[in-house]
């Protein structure tokens, strides 16, 4: 049985798709059979970030409508063994996803995969609700600013009341905080909330802190998930988060302006 993980936030442009691509790819790199499912119907861009946009033939909605089977729609990644992408449709509208249709596809994927990563659209409407409904676990992507934190709080409330686990009174969806686009300089200047501020407000376990990084922009232009750039700070921070997701305890990095952190690590200080 697969672990179904939704990557969600409420707010748009905070790094959900970047994180879905990075975490899905990282899990596969570490030997887990993983599929990343794009729930952002009409605004697909997971395939761009994964660099598979030219290989999309069938999509999620085709499979729901019975116009293609799952194997026809799944795109196998050429770089990483055991990594697949289920792209979204560019042409359909958001209501194309039905609960029964989504459930059937997730059930089928669950037979084959270790992890199903659901890249949620922004907002709190149909598409976002569908992406989180069947989740066992949630990665709540948050930027260190007030409006993003507030939207994440909202999504946490929805996870606790509108998910399948909530509706059926099962064990609640496991919540993880992923703080992205973190910029220690701006935190010090007081322009941004600190890790502690955000943890304090949202009160859920911290999965990772991804620094604001040029490497992310570069990676998305190349169509290469940023974890594949293992020299980069963002790539390393995502890898740390992926270890934590699998239950390992890893120290947090990139939280301070002082570069000592990295040297300490290298020289074992």
């Amino acid at each position: 049985m697969a672990r179904i993980i939704v990557v969600t936030s409420g707010k748009g442009g905070v790094g959900k798709t970047t994180s879905s691509a990075a975490i899905g790819t990282g899990l596969a790199l570490q030997g887990n059979k993983t599929v990343i499912v794009d729930f952002d119907i009409g605004l697909r861009n997971l395939d761009l970030i994964m660099g598979v946009e030219r290989r999309v033939v069938y999509d999620f909605v085709n499979v729901i409508n019975g116009e293609a089977n799952l194997n026809q729609a799944l795109i196998k990644d050429k770089r990483v063994e055991g990594l697949f992408i289920l792209p979204a449709s560019q042409t359909r509208d958001k209501d194309a996803l039905t609960r029964e249709g989504v459930e059937k596809i997730l059930d089928e994927l669950s037979q084959e995969f270790d992890y199903i990563i659901c890249d949620s659209p922004a907002g709190i409407e149909q598409g976002a609700l569908m992406a989180l409904y069947f989740a066992d676990e949630a990665i709540v992507v948050t930027n260190p600013e007030v409006s993003s934190v507030r939207d994440s709080d909202r999504i946490l409330g929805i996870l606790a009341s509108k998910s399948r686990r909530a509706e059926q009174g099962l064990e609640p969806v496991k919540e993880n905080l992923l703080l992205t686009r973190y910029c220690p300089e701006r935190v010090e200047r007081g322009d941004m909330l600190s890790v502690e501020d955000v943890k304090d407000i949202l009160a859920i376990p911290l999965l990772g802190v991804i620094p604001e990084s040029q490497a992310v922009l570069k990676a998305s232009n190349l169509g290469e998930p940023v974890v594949l750039d293992q020299e980069s700070d963002a790539g390393q921070a995502y890898l740390d988060a992926i270890f934590r997701l699998q239950g390992q305890s890893v120290d947090f990095r990139f939280l301070n302006t002082e570069k000592k952190g990295i040297f300490k690590r290298i020289f074992g200080g």
Binding site: R150, D151, D153, L156, G157, I158
Partner: protein, 250 residues
Amino acid sequence: MSQTGIELKGSGFTLSVLHISTTDISVVREALANKIAQAPKFFEMAPIVANVESLKGDEVDFHTLKNALQSLNLVPVGVSGATDEQKLQAKAAGLAVMVAPKTNSTENQPQPTTVIERVEVPVIERVKVEVPVEVKVPEYIPAMQLKQNVRSGQQVYAKDTDLVIIGSVGNGGEVIADGSIHIYGALRGRAIAGAQGDSQAKIYCYNLQAELVSINGTYWTSEQLQKHGWQQAGCIELDGEQLSVKALTE
């Protein structure tokens, strides 16, 4: 004690009840006189209630009854078991209308709001002395207790009771109670206590950063709160017309 020199409180007293099964007051008086003769001390100036239930609405001359009782050195205080018509007549005669305790039927009622104890005191044979003690018990509704954060967009309402939250209330979250609200965490959203008109209701929280607090309709927004106990543990209460924030810890 009260500054007005008086204080009004509910209380229960032991009263003798005279059950009347005839409208002929002279018959009643004679029978009663015989009883009193057996224990005159016990009945001297005793307050007494006349129960007319078994008359089933037959007209009673309450004036005459009252005079008859007084002539026997009793103090008639009221009437019980009366029909609506009899109640009017009893009041006209200067007698109080009492609520007769119901027999046996109370046991089957779920969650009684009035507890009626009925004690039979066999003072003298065949004079039935009932001691109805009515104790008003406020209906007890346990507080609503939540062990969770109330997130943005969520609303919690504790109807007819207090609300206890082990967790925080986020910006855009709303907690409402007809009683008081206790938050063992930060209050960043809205808290509305005494929602149905209780001015005594209070709001307690560990860390006050609320968007709005209200007690019985009197409210403060974060603008005012920032001048009163902001980011402190506090208790918000209604002092007359004004809200106030008191520190929870010194």
